[in-house]
Amino acid sequence: MTIASGKIAEVTPLQLTDADGRSQMISSQAAPMLRSEVLQAQSANVQSIGGATYTSEGYLTSLQSALDAASYKG
């Protein structure tokens, strides 16, 4: 950034360089986010549940199991 006569005259975009010397776009990086800033389910509008792998027993009390029960074909 260059400041001339007390005003910002020029802004050079920040460039990150990785170990191989390739420049990376900062916008693609993972950034810290607050819980209030991340996408949330709108009125339970999800069709599947992701999470750390559950056992067959863990499945029984999982959100996925509740979801499956709601659309169980039988």
Partner: protein, 265 residues
Amino acid sequence: MEQPDGGGTPLSTNTFSSMGTVVSLSFPAAVDPLLQDAALAAADEVFHALDERFSLYRPASELSRLNEGTLRLAEASPQLRAAYQQAADWRLRTDGAFTPDRPDGALDLSGIVKALAMQDAGNAVRSLGLADWCLNAGGDVLCAGRPAEGSDWTVGIVDPADRSALVTVAPLDPAAGRAAVATSGTAERGEHIWAAGAGAGARTFAQVSVVAADIVTADVLATAVIAGGQAMLDKAVGGWDVEIFAVDRSGQLLATPLFRAPAAG
């Protein structure tokens, strides 16, 4: 949260057990029930065939025999050698953060076999002419098409601190290269993850979700970031076309732009 109900999208789901977990296969409710049954049977067959070959819980599996030395890699089936080759390639590409080698020296392909089963099962379902479906294997998700006209498959991500709540959602869009989301962590069962190359002071994550065009990439990278910490997360975001949502040990979130809610107002 409230009990999830699919948000009013009428789906039809059936499940089967395999690989120590439960697999759920969902379709829009209007899909022909006979085709749904055929798809479920095809997916079940794929999972069970791979489990029989690769399970270390089955003493007679091909992988168990390889580990006990009664079978040599050169004599192993093309399927086993292909899976081993893929796992070894991923070990290289992740600087060892993902590895099929257990600390005790055993070869363990479970880190990639479930994802390979999902990929093959998805192909089997697709080959029946079914374009819209969602396959969930123990919390990893692969989908195709859409749940209903005008909507996309949306996957809730469980909060590692409270398994009855969602911490965020992953909006999938197979046409845009986001067909899969895999999550690794320590909240449910002991994952087959052993830290390799996690530098001192590396941020450690309790749970990592990776969205990718295919389930193998998503699953391997989620495992690798849990093992390799912040350095592997940076490498994954820089080196692959993926979106990542990570929760660290203190509950703080680190995520790529897909997971940012639109600004209010």
